[in-house]
Symmetry: C2
């Protein structure tokens, strides 16, 4: 295999060195395409170009590894590569989630392989496990912590009883959160990953924007104290559950028992719990972000291309039932508010009401539909956290 690599960050550099040491992966890097060709590099200058056609039009290159940030530019590269009959490895979750159908069609049309293990939970081989091991209708749910930045922030918030803003600043200083953290803290990054996994887990293609998602930015010290008093951690949980042929899928800040395995997933770690027939659960855990975990996943994809591996998307191919996203499930939530209160009529049932000078909360059942339509959710002092 000859590889053309877009991007020369730590992943690209690491790939170069690991491939040189491997006895069994028959892959060689032909060229890196980079933005800034004048910047000094650690490798020979002939290995670099800033002209993408030098990779995409080179018939000797049979695999493109796409490691750039910009999702739209990445999609153009990946599309061109597949249309030129090249196999592609990528870890770009935004690009994959937003273009999933087109990417599936491109693979089919061009009979090429498109692998993206690094796009979901980095080092955790979750896509491969869904494809190869949980490849039938026996899987009933998948849930987990899919975003390392928010998990780092939430771990610190709970440990230090510190409000969101202070911890975000610290996380940014330490490099655990982006300078524009929106995609992470609003749950959008986790939603992209959930969206990709929904297809591999249940054969469901869905527009990421339709999945009900709440972020962690409104969590305050009152919420944290509630968690501590009740022996909870707060985690941003992405979850999909199959009930008959209907899928319930959400990304929500959630109170989880301190003793649970998800509560023990701390800092930048990710975790996935799979439940299947026989009510058995399987737990996978590893670093969810960062150069090395991503590099490790990208490398395994490259290695798999060496023996012609491709995703077979067995769930969608085999299923007789029409799997659908369903939106009318009941959720048990905690809603905390100040002067303005939520509309009680929206609730199916309010189970508990608490008020004090420090804050007020209700605990109750509400339908997903009412939740999605609730105007009061826009009020800055109102925060909702799911009760698992």
């Amino acid at each position: 295999m000859k590889l053309g690599i877009f991007g020369f960050g730590v992943v690209g550099q690491g790939l170069y060195h690991v491939l040189q040491q491997s006895n069994t992966i028959q892959a060689e890097i032909a060229k890196f395409c980079i933005k800034n060709i004048t910047k000094p590099r650690s490798l020979d200058a002939t290995l670099f170009t800033d002209d993408k056609t030098e990779l995409l039009d080179n018939p000797e290159i049979d695999v493109i590894v796409e490691l750039i940030d910009d999702a739209e530019a990445a999609f153009e590269i990946v599309k061109t590569a597949m249309n030129s009959g090249k196999h592609v490895v990528s870890a770009n979750k935004k690009m994959i989630a937003e273009h999933l159908e087109e990417l599936l069609a491109l693979q089919k049309q061009n009979k090429v392989s498109f692998l993206y293990e690094g796009s979901c939970c980095a080092s955790i081989p979750i896509i491969r496990n869904l494809e190869e091991y949980y490849d039938n209708d026996l899987l009933t749910s998948i849930e987990g912590i899919f975003n390392g930045s928010t998990n780092f922030i939430l771990t610190k918030m709970i440990n230090e009883s510190a409000p969101y803003k202070d911890v975000l600043k610290e996380a940014q200083d330490l490099g655990f959160a982006e300078s524009d953290p929106t995609l992470d803290v609003e749950g959008i990054d986790a939603r992209y990953k959930l969206c990709i996994l929904l297809y591999h887990a249940f054969g469901l293609i869905t527009d990421p924007h339709t999945l009900f998602t709440l972020g962690i930015t409104k969590i305050n010290t009152f919420d944290i104290e509630f968690a501590q008093k009740n022996n909870f951690e707060i985690k941003l949980i992405a979850k999909a559950k199959k009930i008959g042929s209907q899928i319930d899928a959400t990304v929500l800040p959630t109170f989880v028992d301190k003793s649970s395995i998800l509560a023990q997933t701390k800092n930048e770690y990710n975790a996935v719990i799979l439940e299947s027939a026989f009510s058995e659960s399987q737990f996978l855990y590893g670093k969810g972000a960062g150069d090395k975990p991503t590099g490790s996943a990208v490398l395994s994809d490259i290695s798999a291309l060496g023996y012609g591996y491709r995703y077979e998307y067995k769930k969608s191919a085999k299923s007789k039932e029409k799997i659908e996203l369903h939106e009318d499930f009941q959720m048990r939530i905690y809603v905390r508010f100040a002067d303005q209160q939520p509309d009680e009529a929206d609730f199916t049932e309010v189970l508990e009401k608490y008020s004090s000078r420090y804050g007020n909360y209700w605990i109750g059942y509400i339908s997903r539909q009412k939740m999605k339509e609730a105007q009061w959710l826009e009020i800055p002092e109102i925060n909702v956290i799911a009760l698992g």
Copy 2:
């Protein structure tokens, strides 16, 4: 697929019910072969026989699922089935570890598939991950807790500062240990699993008896106190590490840091840590024993047969290097003794010596070879625990 199943325990019964509910697994149970045909059963009597030829000689049955205890009887069944061109699913680690070469040859000769995910760490899809995801030479080590009974016993010993014998009794009463616990507590069960995984991880076939193994039966309250004072747990760790083309593989009671993820693997749970290139580690965790976890793995194997899956044993096929078990590594150990002391000359270096009226211990380096030959290891009052 038509299945012939040997054994009608909880796994067999569960399989029957789950297969009836599945839309995608095209498998039907033709017959169960059981020992005692007169015992009343929950299913129709026509589904049972005590004559194994009714399954093995039936050309309509294309898959044999072997779920019996006796390893030698199981091997005869599996051999006959493969020689009759039938695919086989089994979870019998003793049988597989002891007959690995023959079983590999039988698969090849008869062009049949032999799957045994349930044999190693039950619900954890470790074999499939080694085959499919860690299928190249980038894996550097595999270690973990492979035996649920001993982990249950060790968890209780540490929690309750109770000696081995008391806890064993309790574990037996609760059904977490066999009435003859030898295979578990002497580390032999974990060794069988390690032996199977050595082939899938590194392409190494080895006689299980050659792997250096110590059990947990000699651990006393002095050892437990040492663990507690030093913030350790004691775990029975199976471990294989690749250094160049040499493999170091052992099963040893080991002191592990209380904060480590292996220490957090409690009771009947199993865990596996895989380390690979990019120094990334991946952690898999799930129930390691019991009917449901095993059933879950067996079911996934049956499902995989539906699309012609077979292990490709890529490690042994692809590797250019001759992988060998090596026995001359240095180990750091804790050795506790009473009146009779170990032979100091056996040690490469003794780092610490402690003596008191309650017990004595040394900490030091010793070569594997010296350890294997040490006569003093036979003395009942001398116990060795590895320092990780």
